[in-house]
């Protein structure tokens, strides 16, 4: 999904100007709080991160700044990252994940899956209403799934996530049966994601265009006013009492109101938080993290998102020179991911060498040394592959051709720091990486046509290890008929087999084995170079209490947030 935080050139210049002029801004060197577990294991955050620890005090208005506007509040119709936390404010989902990442009840109290894995029967809560007064029931679920896949909704994501869904049947008012064309175990996972939230059936039927501006959800807050380019004003729903059991919260949210404003400039998000204009920022800039830590009145937190980590480069394995796995591997070994993570994240980011985010279920840390930074090994591999001669500029040559490739990147004033750092890293092993910047639309064209040697960047947040299928299965290669995310155009029968089997498997032991093998296979195939974990950073004033994280997206949930003030 698209990354909402665009670091504009303006921001960088602004930061520089501030640094020069402010003087008083103290860059106190502060140790980075390490995540709970060491780098050598899967990351699992403590259960308290996901569960309310004690009751809060009701009342007050929380002022929040956020980088970007989604343009519409119909989450079925967008793929924007902001939907992750926005969904938890306005809407609810059928399913929630528990702290371990397994599906757990929410609007669906329980469910059964038929032995062939193709029929899901959901038993729904009978006490849930939407903010427009309509009831949540089996028909509501059916209409929501239809709305997601209705081409008129123009869904860039939700529709694809429920692609195997064939049809739904209302068994009785609170029992819904979903029939799939083929077994698809990620079904429950995706139903827990905010892009697949439940919207009022009345609104879907009578006025679907209004969902974008004045949505009727069943969530803990109701949109009072949404002003594009400015913000969203939300008010508490007093009769809300159906937050996910995993959160351990009873009754309505504590805050009376939330006033959310779009503040595109990173610098301003930091300074306006520090000056107290806002209580909370959902997109805290990494470059100000040290200053936020040094400020006793502020709290900074970050949790690694699930899914696929940020990639530095994706190789097109069907194009020279990346048809040779030795070249791909040598390239990966030569990229100093520690260094790049430092440059990009100002000490906040976690470098990454394997293919699944360490917070994802069935992540296996065993293979993270396979592509560890090792320049001599990279040189040996290229020698082995026959790239032994060097030209005048110091680049490797074979049969009169220089070891070189073009990497396509989205157009901007200056190429991204990440790509430039990688370019100088691989120069050391005699690889000439040429950065080609294109307007976004042309980039999309080339990408879909497979007309590239390599692509820069890319992340994929999701809450399921099925992310590996979405990115690496051969059925996810873009064709004239289908748009897919396998941009390395990798076709590996073994990998395909593991990932397809995993979609049909329920047994955790078998799943664990399949996903583990798939992760190992990827470190052998090297379709791309993962560089760091995807890490959203939030910051807030110290008197903002009760922040818990969403189990699907690791973004903040506001139902449990309260203000520890005299007059909140």
């Amino acid at each position: 999904m698209r990354n909402a935080i665009h670091q504009t050139g303006l921001g960088w210049v602004a930061a520089g100007v501030l640094a020069v002029l402010a003087g008083g801004c103290k860059p106190a060197p502060h140790p980075v709080e390490p995540p709970v577990s060491a780098a050598s294991a899967a990351i699992s955050y403590p259960a308290e991160d996901y569960r309310e620890q004690s009751r809060g005090r009701p009342g007050g208005t929380l002022k929040v700044s956020v980088a970007a506007d989604t343009g519409t509040l119909d989450l079925h119709a967008i793929s924007h990252t902001n939907a992750q936390w926005l969904g938890r404010l306005i809407y609810d989902n059928l399913v929630y994940l528990d702290a371990k990442g397994e599906p757990s009840p929410w609007l669906a109290k329980s469910w059964t899956i038929s032995p062939d894995g193709k029929t899901y029967t959901f038993h729904l809560r009978d006490d849930v209403t939407f903010s427009d007064g309509s009831r949540f029931n089996a028909e509501a679920v059916r209409l929501n799934l239809e709305h997601m896949r209705d081409p008129a909704t123009k869904s860039p994501l939700a529709a694809a996530y429920i692609e195997p869904y064939a049809d739904g049947r209302v068994i009785d008012e609170f029992t819904f049966e979903a029939r799939l064309r083929e077994p698809y175990t990620p079904f429950l996972d995706v139903l827990a994601q905010s892009w697949l939230a439940m919207i009022s059936p009345k609104q879907i039927r009578e006025n679907p265009r209004l969902i974008g501006e004045a949505p009727a959800g069943s969530g803990p807050f109701v949109v009072e006013r949404y002003t594009r380019q400015q913000g969203i004003r939300l008010v508490r729903r007093d009769d809300y009492h159906w937050s996910p059991p995993v959160i351990g919260h009873e009754g309505p949210a504590y805050l009376d109101r939330i006033e959310l404003e779009f503040v595109p400039e990173a610098l301003i998000r930091y300074t306006s938080l520090a000056s107290g204009q806002y209580d909370f920022t959902i997109d805290a800039p990494a470059q100000n993290a040290a200053a936020i830590r040094a400020d006793a009145s502020l709290v900074i937190q970050s949790r690694v998102r699930k899914g696929i980590p940020t990639r530095a480069i994706t190789f097109n394995v069907t194009r020279e020179p990346f048809t040779d796995v030795r070249v791909r591997k040598a390239f990966a070994l030569a990229v100093d991911r520690e260094g790049i993570a430092q440059i990009m994240g100002f000490g906040e980011f976690k470098p990454k060498t394997d293919y699944l985010a360490a917070t994802t279920r069935y992540y296996d840390p065993s293979f993270q040394d396979a592509l560890k930074y090792d320049v001599p090994a990279a040189d040996r591999l290229l020698d082995e592959a026959g790239w032994t001669a060097r030209d005048g500029a110091g680049y490797r040559v074979k049969d009169g051709r220089r070891l070189s490739a073009e990497i396509l990147a989205a157009e901007s004033a200056t190429p991204g720091a990440l790509t430039v750092a990688m370019q100088s890293d691989v120069k050391k092993i005699g690889f000439d990486l040429v950065i080609v910047q294109l307007p976004a639309a042309q980039l999309t064209d080339r990408r879909n046509a497979g007309a590239y040697q390599a692509l820069s960047g890319g992340v994929w947040h999701t809450n399921t290890p099925d992310a590996l299928y979405i990115l690496h299965h051969s059925r996810a290669i873009t064709t004239p008929k289908l748009i897919g995310q396998n941009t390395s155009r990798l076709q590996d029968a073994d990998l395909d087999d593991m990932l397809a089997q995993a979609r049909q498997t329920v047994d955790p032991a078998v799943l664990s084995d399949l996903y583990s093998r798939a992760q190992r296979r990827l470190t052998e195939l090297v379709p791309s170079v993962p560089v760091y974990e995807n890490l959203p950073i939030i910051a807030y004033r110290r008197d903002v209490r009760g922040v818990v994280f969403d189990t699907s997206h690791n973004t903040p949930v506001f139902t449990t947030v309260w203000l520890d003030r005299e007059n909140p």
Binding site: M1, R2, N3, H6, T8, L10, V13, A14, V17, L18, L21, A22, S65, G71, T72, I78, S79, H80, R149, P151, A152, T153, K154, S155, P156, L157, A159, A160, Y161, E163, R209, T227, R228, Q229, Q230, E261, V263, P264, E265, I268, T271, S272, A274, S275, Q277, P439, A440, A441, Q442, L443, T444, D445, R447, N448, G458, I470, K481, L482, I483, Q485
Partner: protein, 310 residues
């Protein structure tokens, strides 16, 4: 009669300008290439199903030949229909309408500020001691050549982060309007007061000023009652420059101060290839130019009778 014909010809030319702007933007948007349907659906990081892509192509007429798309587009424009925003999923007129008030507020405040401040400043500094003039023209040069986001950040540093007088962002009340308007106005003040001062200095040499002084009028009265009126003509000529400054400046100022407005809508629309919104705002800007030019033209005939005769 002559004035009526003049207005009619001007309006006709205005329609021509609008048509030209519409055509140019249409061409510009289409030569950059790329699949608009996919851009609408979230670019490279989305997973639209084939049904969804097909639907988007058909609904927005993207599967038609370009010339047909152009024809339909002009026909819609003629009816005053700017189409629907790809990203916001609402009519473009509504999308712009929602943002218009904030931008007009900002523009009016900035203009008011620029005009009063530059008149005041020019009157104060014209034909004064050498050091006063070199100081004022020097500072004007610095301010007018500073990018507006640098000015904005300087103001933020002083008034928001240090003194906490004005909020750094948002659009609530007059307080949040002060710094954006000032940021927008400062470069204009610099240019306008330079022009005004030069004009004033020329006029203050004129015989009728000497006569006025000879009648025993004080310096302030001479400047205010006699010189100023004559010096204001170039200000009207510069209104085209002012309009351009306002429209262009709004893009940066609104983003920097997180104000809502048409400028920021334009930025979002451009980055997201929201073609109908880009076209809509371009046309709106062209319309503003045409109207401003028409008004200026008519104003000339009021201020300077020679134009009427010629």
């Amino acid at each position: 009669m002559r004035l009526g014909k003049r207005i009619f010809l001007r309006l006709l030319a205005g329609v021509g300008v609008l048509w030209g702007a519409a055509t140019l933007t249409f061409v510009a948007v289409n030569v950059t290439g790329g699949d608009t349907a996919l851009a609408i659906l979230g670019g490279p990081d989305a997973l639209p199903t084939p049904e969804v892509v097909a639907r988007v192509r058909a609904e927005y007429g993207l599967d038609r030949p370009l010339i047909e798309q152009y024809g339909r587009y002009l026909a819609r424009l003629a009816r005053g229909d700017l189409g629907e925003s790809y990203r916001l999923r609402i009519p473009v007129t509504r999308a712009i309408g929602q943002q218009l008030r904030a931008t007009v507020e900002l523009a009016l405040c900035a203009t008011l500020l620029a005009v009063t401040a530059s008149i005041f400043w020019a009157m104060l500094t014209a034909k004064r001691a050498r050091w006063v003039r070199s100081f004022s023209s020097g500072s004007e040069l610095v301010v007018s050549s500073m990018p507006s986001f640098v000015i904005g950040i300087l103001l933020l540093l002083v008034f928001s982060f240090r003194l906490h007088v004005f909020p750094a962002s948002g659009s609530h009340g007059w307080k949040s309007l002060v710094m954006p308007a000032l940021t927008l106005a400062l470069p204009m003040i610099a240019v306008l007061s330079q022009v005004l001062r030069q004009q004033l200095e020329e006029i203050l040499e004129q015989p009728f000023i000497v006569t006025a002084r000879a009648r025993g009028l004080g310096d302030a009265a001479v400047r205010l009652r006699h010189a100023l009126r004559h010096a204001l003509i170039p200000l009207v000529t510069l209104s085209g420059y002012i309009t351009a400054g306002l429209l262009g400046g709004a893009v940066i100022v609104e983003s920097l101060f997180a104000r809502q407005g048409v400028g920021r809508l334009m930025v979002e629309a451009t980055t997201n290839k929201d073609v109908p919104v880009v076209l809509g705002i371009t046309l709106m800007a062209a319309l503003v130019y045409v109207v401003v030019n028409l008004i200026v033209d008519l104003l000339y005939t009021v201020i300077d009778p020679r134009v009427r005769i010629g």
